[in-house]
């Protein structure tokens, strides 16, 4: 078996079955080789090795030998039970063989040359007894403290690793971290194929475990530090940083649970599988919006996982009852599942893993995390961002519609924290306080929403016992008014309108009267004018008559006198011509 593998150029991999590890290593540990797991005390080396062995035996049909140099088989069995495996049962079924190698330096005297053939024989015997494919040596360094001839030890270790390779064993050896070297006794010198470092740190009283693949010959692998955690179900490593941006996208639209909000979003609501963020200060109704979305999802018969980091499930159910939302029925129907935990209860990774597990188990279509800002209590901003990125990527891959809420603080730009993850968000709703006239009201607007023509208007956000309603905000006269101010403004406007109308009416009447007066005046003047012209006419008529009479009189007089009649006649003719 082993001989055949030497000829294979492409490295064959051995799946560990440890959640996440096979993704980072692109298939598992190098098959037929030895992998070194190093780390400080309590970093989880033994557990790692144990799970590798158990999964191999249970899931991949590869029995394994656990050779322990530290713990007795009894202690080992206890540890296995903590991971949910019954070691004794597995031993009796021939899936696992254990051997506890005990070295008491005080009992041992060294005289002359020796080798470690005894160890080889024990290991070989155990391997043969169950036909093992996997081997764990935990931790072989104990030899260094038990035996003093390091020259022999080193030569024998080298031989041991060759021997394991020749037998085609996929092996794990563990080693305690040294000061400057990966392991105290330089085990990394012998293990050339794969070295994994486990790290356990405590930062600000919150512990985080991290895993890094230091070396993996002949294989590409993720080089980041991957957070992991250990719980009652073993190891969980979170590898999902390297996901590409090739998510499956949906054109399906789903209701937000608030009809008016649907209308603001192109009339159809969110895209399925998109990531929605609601930012708002305390008491702006983030949770209510989230609950409305959950309610709508359950109404469609979908499953919704609600991660509450602020409130207990019963409190949320009660509070939402007060705005006319009955979430308890969905919980009963197993469509809605709450999970709440204090953010500081455990590290960020633990949260992420709990989320993962919840999703894997419940398989929801809608996921709500309320609020993400509380996560910052469990880690630094960049850690939170990295966690959220991975979470969102993961959810997108699963086509789960994700609803995140973010608590913003007074006096801080609402985009503060959110802007760091804004590129991950498809639809971003902002809930804003509008303080006016000693009153605080909520305004909601869509900051962005990818792939749809959304409303740009701020709507007033009201929580009533009938649920959430959005009201078009008063936007007249160049200002934005909400709440009672909006109502007052409406009333004021109405009143002033009536007043204005009355005023106009009055003016119109005045004008009408003025016009009437004017017309009367014009009439009077015309009458006067007519009278005058009549008089004038009469006067000129009289005058003409008088002239004519006068001329005749003169003619008569001249006639009577018989003197210079021609001259008089001439002038008389002229005058009469003018008068006509």
């Amino acid at each position: 078996m082993g001989k055949a593998r030497h000829d294979i150029d492409v490295l064959e991999k051995c799946p560990t079955g440890i959640r996440g590890l096979d993704e980072i290593t692109k298939g598992g540990l190098p098959r037929g080789r030895t992998t070194l797991i190093c780390g400080g005390a309590g970093s989880g080396k033994t557990l790692f090795a144990m799970e590798f062995l158990m999964r191999g035996a249970m899931d991949y049909g590869e029995p394994g030998v656990f050779m322990t140099f530290e713990e007795t088989t009894e202690d080992l069995a206890k540890n296995f039970i903590s991971l949910g495996f019954d070691l004794h049962d597995m031993i009796s079924r021939g899936l696992v063989a254990t051997d506890h190698v005990k070295i008491e330096r005080s009992e041992i005297e060294e005289t002359g040359a020796y080798d470690l053939e005894g160890l080889f024989i024990r290991l070989g015997n155990a391997i043969d007894s169950i036909g093992a494919k996997r081997v764990v040596l935990d931790t072989i360094e104990a030899l260094f403290s038990g035996l003093s001839n390091t020259a022999i030890l080193r030569a024998e270790l080298r031989r041991l690793f060759h021997w394991l390779k020749d037998r085609g064993m996929t092996a794990i050896v563990t080693g305690e971290s040294g000061d400057k070297t990966l392991t105290r006794y330089g085990l990394e010198e012998y293990v050339a194929d794969c070295v994994i470092l486990l790290d356990f740190r405590i930062e600000e009283q919150i512990s985080t475990r991290r895993l890094r693949i230091v070396k993996y010959r002949g294989s590409s692998h993720g080089s980041d530090e991957y957070p992991f955690l250990i719980d009652e179900r073993g190891f969980s490593i979170l590898p999902i940083t390297s996901l590409g941006l090739d998510y499956p996208v949906s054109t399906e639209r789903i209701s937000t649970g608030v009809p008016k909000l649907d209308k603001m979003l192109d009339g159809k609501g969110f895209y399925r599988g998109s990531t929605i963020l609601v930012s708002g200060a305390a008491g702006t109704g983030r949770t209510s919006l989230a609950a409305a979305f959950a309610d709508a999802a359950c109404l469609r018969g979908e499953r919704c996982l609600y991660f509450a980091l602020e409130e207990s499930p019963s409190q949320i159910i009660r509070n939402m009852g007060s705005i006319g939302m009955n979430l308890a029925r969905w919980v009963k129907k197993r469509l809605l599942k709450f999970h709440s935990a204090r953010p500081s209860l455990y590290g960020l990774e633990m949260h992420l893993v709990t989320v993962h597990r919840g999703i894997e188990e419940f398989n929801p279509q809608v996921f709500i995390l309320d609020p993400i800002s509380n996560l910052s209590a469990a880690g630094t901003a960049s850690e939170v961002k990295s966690i959220l990125t991975r979470l969102i990527d993961y959810l997108k891959m699963k086509k789960i519609s994700t609803f995140l809420t973010d608590l913003t603080h007074f006096g801080v730009s609402p985009e503060r924290m959110s802007e760091e993850i804004s590129s991950l968000i498809d639809t971003w709703l902002l809930l804003q306080d509008i303080e006016l006239n000693g009153e605080r009201n909520r305004g909601l607007y869509v900051l962005k929403s990818r792939g749809m023509a959304h409303s740009k208007q701020i709507h007033e956000f009201l929580l009533t016992n009938q649920g959430i309603s959005l009201i078009d905000i008063y936007t007249g006269a160049g200002e934005v008014l909400t709440g009672s101010a909006r109502a007052v403004q409406h009333a004021e406007e109405k009143a002033s309108e009536v007043e204005r109308r009355l005023e106009v009416d009055g003016r119109l009447r005045v004008q009408e009267r003025k016009r009437e007066a004017l017309e009367a005046k014009i009439k009077a003047l015309r009458a006067e004018f007519d009278a005058e012209s009549e008089e004038l006419h009469l006067m000129s008529e009289e005058e003409r008559k008088r002239q004519a009479v006068l001329a005749e009189d003169r003619l008569e007089m001249a006639h009577l006198r018989k003197g210079e009649p021609s001259a008089v006649r001439q002038s008389a003719r002229k005058r009469s011509g003018k008068g006509r």
Partner: protein
Amino acid sequence: MKAVSSGKGKKAKTDSAKEIWNLRLYVVDQTPKSITAIANLKKICEEHLAGKYRIEVIDLLKNPQLAKGDQIIAIPTLVRKLPQPVKKIIGDLANTERVLVGLDIRSVSG
């Protein structure tokens, strides 16, 4: 199990009422190291424990499962089963002084 016991074991009873030295030597096959160890052991016993020792040589190649019981790692390993407490000496027993110290023989013979 391949046991080689000294023919002089019975003599020990008459020698003293003291305990029998029960020694067990683990070897693998007939390697030079094993042969040297067996020879060295016999020589030391004859010189210092004449008549009150018993040697058991165990070849792990034939009985690999026996290695577990006495916690054998190194080959060859000499185990002093009796008298108590159990002592172990690893190596080919070339350094007689150290073997004597390791087996606490000095005090007995001295």
